[in-house]
Subunit: 317 residues, 2 copies
């Protein structure tokens, strides 16, 4: 959950754990079955098996590692008696790695074990693993096409350059009102029939009973909205606040909230309340900072299923 703050960035450890899990399982199997092999060795051993004696760099390129990694792995393999190091007589810079007879013997008895590993992994993971591989490959390709840092800096420049404005309702914004509210409703709850009706016809359900709707614009983009609904004369509800997920953190929510509160005062409202849900912690903190106070119980006769929080605007004067 808190990892989400980093967006997609916190994958590293999860994936390392995942792959360590696999390696660990394979090693456990090799140990149990008495195969004198470790799973981390396999890429190197397998390449030498297929390609015959090879230089460090050849192996490194083939298995997608740096020459250093191969060199260090080779240390272990030599220590385990699986690989022999030799100078290349034709080129004194090169080291030729070759399997020992011991390694050849070990590998040649490994067929059934590999087969079992393959089938066991498949049985456990089925298509999941395939999806994972596809997804990784897709990400790698996308990153090659375009460096992320560049994309981020471009976004930042665009955000900084665009002014953040609060504007009142206009018919052209009806679609935005729906979109911005549907986004968080669908993420956290269910979009119900009543929601669809109110969001589709804000004029009828909000403006006409004496309410107001504001929008936050960043440059040309409409990134947030908030509504003030007159429940009965002088009694207002703050509702339908939504900020585009990708544009949070710019202060648009607070600006919208302030606009609604100002409008409430302009209309000489006597009471302003809101209903929300305890899952929306960030929003609740913002309401609190703006002067809303948490009430001990939910609002009597609330017409929201999802409301378990009731707050009333009580600014300290």
């Amino acid at each position: 959950m808190y990892l989400a703050s980093l967006g997609k960035l916190a994958l590293g450890s999860r994936l390392k754990a995942l792959s360590d899990h696999f390696y660990g399982a394979a090693d456990e199997v090799y140990r149990t079955l008495g195969a004198p092999i470790e799973s981390r060795w396999l890429p190197v051993l397998r390449y030498l098996w297929d390609a015959g004696p090879s230089t460090v760099t050849d192996v490194a390129n083939a298995i997608g590692q740096t020459h250093s990694a191969v060199s260090q792995l080779t240390d272990k393999l030599v220590r385990a008696g699986m690989v022999r190091r030799r100078r290349d007589p034709a080129d004194g810079r090169r080291t030729v790695l070759a399997l020992t007879d011991k390694a050849r013997g070990a590998l040649s008895t490994l067929g059934p074990i590999w087969c079992a590993v393959r089938r066991g992994v498949n049985a456990s993971l089925d298509e999941h693993a395939a999806h994972l591989l596809d997804a990784i490959a897709a990400c790698e390709r996308a990153l090659q096409d375009r460096p992320v840092a560049e994309a981020i800096l471009a976004e930042h420049a665009a955000i900084k350059a665009a002014p953040l404005q609060i504007v009142p309702y206009a018919p052209a914004l009806r679609g935005d009102f729906y979109r911005l509210n549907a986004q968080w409703l669908e993420r956290h709850f269910q979009l119900e029939e009543i929601d669809r009706a109110v969001l589709s016809e804000p004029e009828r359900h909000i403006l006409q009973p004496g309410g107001a709707i504001f929008f936050a614009r960043l440059g040309d983009e409409v990134i947030g909205t908030c509504a003030l609904l007159q429940e009965s004369p002088g009694i207002f509800e703050l509702t339908k606040m939504g900020v585009d997920e990708t544009f949070r953190g710019l202060g648009a929510g607070r600006r919208l909230l302030d606009a609604c509160i100002a409008e409430f005062h302009r209309r000489d409202g006597r009471m302003l309340f809101l209903e929300s849900n305890s899952r929306l912690q960030t929003a609740l903190r913002m309401y609190q900072k703006a002067g809303f106070v948490m009430q001990p119980s939910v609002r009597p006769g609330s017409h929201y299923e999802r409301a378990d929080v009731y707050m009333i605007y009580q600014p300290q004067t």
Copy 2:
């Protein structure tokens, strides 16, 4: 390619690289924009921001790391002046971590940058990242349900217990003949009309002209096949060899090959050849070991599009 030998196990490094890429990009952005922050700090800082002063273990649980990792991260954060360590007066074992004013200041100016990071990452990766997350979650769940090592050992026991037999053609095996050949054809090439015809009616195209078909059975499962086709009197072609991908390494291919060669001798054949493709290195090595010799050019008048290898059986007597 050689990683494939490990099946799905070689993900670790790729994913670490992928996530390092993200961290690196984010850090580059923070540096460029002058934010005194590193991306690895964020989970901790963000949690302290949201939850207030907390103990090491609380933070560790919240961000999904070990207490050691948090402790070490805290060292850095203290050195950077972002976090304060205090003993918990109520419980002398605990250390309470709290943000410094400096950290609070830094974090509060970070909104637009985070927003840009989110949008930049989204722009670069779009749904790829979402798929990746889904796939990881699916794998994690699958692993929880069933330990891999156990599944592998079960497979191994099953494989070891079952006898590997070579059996001649029987009508009930027609479907297996198709399946086993279609598998590798579709993976490496294209399944063409002519293939479909031959594979669907082996009696007509292979047996009736004086050929033979063998199957490898492991217990109840049919895991491989190979055919001997009489091209003209005394001239035989070894063809349609296929072993189920998940059952390779058990020696089924070699056993099938030997069966076909024995059959060739039993029929007093004068010549035995095969056509194949240089992509199928493993198969080619097996043919070589069995006595087939690579010819310098492709077979004249070959009826295979995909054949770029021509081998003739020439056992050293």
